[in-house]
Subunit: 360 residues, 4 copies
């Protein structure tokens, strides 16, 4: 029996936070995983999950999590877990994730700490699973048999790279991308954004977000070097991002202007390219892989967060308003579910992929 | 006594609509004007303004408008008016505004119908009042002594051109501008945007808005031809606009990326340039001219619509997040009060300017 | 094979409206029904459902509805339907529903037109399915073999009567109820509430809603007369309702103050009573009957619409903040999903119940 | 020259908080006061107000406050102040306000700490300034010449008591009041309510709020005892309050059901009574006293927070939907600006009144 056929025991770090709660909802519906261990801060440890958590999901708390006793995030307490999902805050994720990695766990992280580390895959699972080739080197360096770290990207990056990857694969390198985001409040966690800051208002800054997008895109759309010891980010693409917080619960909207390095395709060719885009996670039959990676909408007032964020159970990206750009070649608007494909869902599909490839 | 010293009798067309209501609020506070006549559709005519109008302003309805009996929009009924403000919908504005113009009225219009007509000033009063030189030609062509039409621009255009004009005046021509807007619901009138479309949501389309911005900017930032018979729009600047509707009551936020044609200034030079920008309406002492045309904010999470839309009583533009752009030269975020500088307030200041210049 | 075991062909009238769209979503997930025919206004008829409809649900449009060609609402065109669900507007529902009834169809209506007709069940399916005894009389009067009309109640009434029924059954008659509602915008259809009326705002009126609640409660909590020819509304209970529209997409919140006619129970007895409440639709195994009719929450800041509206797939009522009332005996806050148990879901469960009882 | 004719030096405690910011806005517009000293926590002291404060008002920060250096809340540092306004949080207000009182300052407090102290006026300045008679006793007890404490009420109480007082004065004692509130987020301060709790949502609990309303109403509508040593709250009125937080920035909406102890007046008599209600602060010509204490609106969908909260510059209460109650005698909906009449504005008018009466 291959590892991909058995149910994997999942540990979730940062389980009581917003990303952690999304992990719980998604794992409880996923036949490949069983919720085994939940980790959080000392304040929560020792309590059943239901009382340790201020639940904020629209879905009811899954029954298979309610009574799990929360632990502190110590690898010694997570024996029996096949895979570790981390929804930890960046302020603590660095040390804890490293400890789990060194303790030979397969770690899937949402935190930013290791995203730009050269031998760590920064993986949007519908885009660049070829970066998993870095894992062998990670293990060799540390003398590990099973441990590794895979990170997923910033939530806005996750949406943006999907159509960009499709375009790059089909029409060759991109030259310049200008993107302006309208990001949902759930991306800031809880309590996160104060209501006085966002009711009848826009906040035109998300601290640290723009540089993340501008550099993560280059790594994800790039390749890896010849001996698979490090990633090889793109050096010829320039990206400029502007990020706004808007009064929307879930779903990031992104307005992109794109210039190709070579002869640009027509609008129809672009639409067809996006519609036809597929990824290896689909081919392998991963449970969370969306049937359609990119939904291209012809309705001129779409995508909209409330209506489109659940496309593909939150794992698809919806792209609309594909039209010529008077300054570059094409402009379009995309929508990504920021806590599914943009966070917990990406980690889970990353783990499914790793299991299918025999890495777990 | 010069015309600018007497109180002018104002007529308002489309007085019961959203723009019309803003006209009423602003005129009631303005010592240069007296609300004289109010025009609306046949359905409203004959009724006192207070009962003809579904009032939607946060300010209480001014007492000097409550009992004015609404008329139909027939020039013969507006004798005694020195100036006509039109908040009419584009579907009817074309014929009605022309009729008032031909009947020798000074018409200040918010509608799009005549904005791109070559001999009609498309005037943001803190930007391009030099286009008033077209008025002499308008009158000559029609044999009028007092009549003319001045339009103001689309609400998003109104905000964007202000810093662009300051930069162009100081640092020479611009080459490319990419702008993404987050526009308030009041811009769509009443009932306008359905609540099911905008609560917990973004609408990524405002029909017809993007081409307006892309072409109006060129006309406003351009000049007029040698014999002042027509405007001379810029031909070397390219503008790409993407417009979104967001759940904000008043105040359009705009994220702009700008490339200069020549050597770009530093960020500090740009800030200084914007801070020092002045316009002739200020010099002339127009009542509605803001003390500061552009507020440059150093707080990194500003401008915000709820906090900044009333800067300069809604007649200033607030610009923040001025920083280098990895793709072009500079990017920044601006905020404009869409129904004040972006609509009724601009018309009123246009009229004040015209009066100061002896055109009314 | 009993009728309840076969799949029933469903026709939906008013299929393109907000309630109609909810019918489509719920029916597509329900194994007891097959979407057979869709009716709407003349403007839509002849078009595939996907192009006739401005879809506003968060769920994607079900594939089994997309290509159904919309018909006009003529009974002759609905041959083959076992059951008719009406989401028609009250302005047209009266005549059309009557025509289907007279054409021998089983009609389940959301409109107000026949709610107070004495021999028509006004049925909240988790509360008063005993009123189905009126159907025999309906048929006899018209000489029909299969036709009848069952209505469901106003959306706010639907939520309120559930705990009231549980309390009345256990502790005897109620004397006085004061209820204030905070109702979601989806209850007003599309375009419905203008965004300028509800962003950063409350509308303290829902036209005609308060009398509906005040009289529908009496009919639903009452019985039927001896020969089952008419309902027998309560005459000793007095209800006072105040209705507000709030900026919430789905889910009506209702704050109730209740006085018992007799000795009041304790708060703990009330909680236990609500938790233990069951209904016949559950016993019969109806697909849409919630596992738990009433969720009693002990968290003091619940129920909340975003977090609790999907309890029991929208078919449960959540009741919280059960505490003594200084003026009456008890006060509490309840939440009902206004378009599920409060509208389309109630009709569907009503139909399931009728099928189980052999009435379809 | 009477004390009411000179400009008073004002100190503001808790000046950087939400209530403190409202004090700054209102005082800067008020000719009776000069902003003299600003106090806040140790963290802020020593900094200019503009840098110590995260400004959240829609009005720009007044220039006369920007450069005031913030102090710690020590009475010794406030020499030169004629009056002290406290916007302190209840957690620290008790000790600090007492220290200022004992240091012989006239203290006007928004905190709850001394509201129910028998010899402290709990004063809504358009309702019960007769309670100022308690001040002589306060001073005598402590041997003070100038010091006293006056508190204002909870923000929801402030709105509710205004029409209740008018009705009680005209038609005699009330017997029972049931009130349900829909309260704005600004009432919770900053950061206050998390956006994830209130976007597309209602929070049906405001901790501790309901008992405050239920007991404060009795004190405010009551009198004082014979020797003016203590207040004499009503004992025969019963009040039941239910409080909700709603997604509105400013303005509390309250739905009230009222029963009179004696023969109830007609609806028209009630409307006339409310319209004709006046208070002593008006008679004395206090600057902040509204021209009309109660605005009675006949428009059936009013009051609305966005449209009516600024009535009387936020110092009026708007009452609408006055209609018979099927359970009690009358029901109506009222709106109060929660940070003006409901907080800082009330304190300021209380101080104006005290000055007019020679108490400062």
């Amino acid at each position: 029996m291959s590892s991909s056929d058995r149910v994997l025991n999942a540990g979730v770090l940062g389980a009581t936070g917003t990303v952690g709660q999304r992990f719980i909802v998604l794992l409880s519906q996923n036949p490949m995983f069983r919720i085994h261990s939940l980790g959080a801060s000392e304040r929560s440890s020792g309590k059943p999950y239901s009382s340790a958590t201020k639940w904020k999901m629209s879905e009811l708390m899954p029954t298979d999590a309610r009574n799990v006793v929360v632990k502190s995030c110590d690898p010694a307490l997570f024996a029996g877990c096949d895979v570790i999902f981390s929804g930890l805050d960046a302020s603590v994720a660095g040390d804890i994730e490293r400890a789990f990695f060194e303790a030979n766990f397969a770690v899937f992280s949402n935190a930013k700490n290791y995203r730009m580390t050269p031998n760590v895959p920064l993986c949007v699972p519908v885009v660049n699973t070829d970066h998993y080739a870095l894992i062998a080197g990670q293990r060799a360096e540390m003398g590990l048999t099973k441990g590794f770290i895979v990170t997923n990207s910033n939530c806005s990056t996750s949406g943006l790279v999907v159509p960009l990857k499709a375009l790059q694969d089909k029409f060759g390198p991109l030259k310049r991308v200008v993107v302006t985001t309208l990001q949902a409040i759930s991306g800031a966690g809880y309590p996160g954004v104060a209501s006085l800051d966002i009711l009848d208002n826009i906040v035109p800054l998300i601290s640290g977000e723009e540089p993340k997008i501008e550099e993560e895109v280059l790594k994800i759309l790039g390749g890896i070097n010849a001996d698979a010891s490090a990633c090889a980010p793109l050096s010829d693409l320039r990206v400029s991002a502007t990020c706004n917080r808007v009064p929307v619960v879930d779903g990031h909207t992104e307005c992109a202007n794109v210039e190709f390095a070579g002869t640009p395709p027509t609008i129809d060719e672009i639409k067809q390219c996006l519609r036809e885009y597929t990824c290896e996670a689909q081919t392998l039959g991963c449970y969370s892989a969306p049937a359609q990676v990119i939904h291209v909408t012809e309705e001129e007032d779409r995508p909209q967060p409330r209506l489109d964020r659940n496309a593909g159970e939150g794992m698809s990206v919806t792209v609309g308003r594909i039209r010529p750009c008077p300054v570059f070649h094409v402009k379009f608007t995309l929508l990504v579910h920021n806590t599914v494909l943009g966070a917990a869902g990406a980690s889970i599909l990353n783990a499914e992929y790793a299991a299918k490839k025999g890495l777990i």
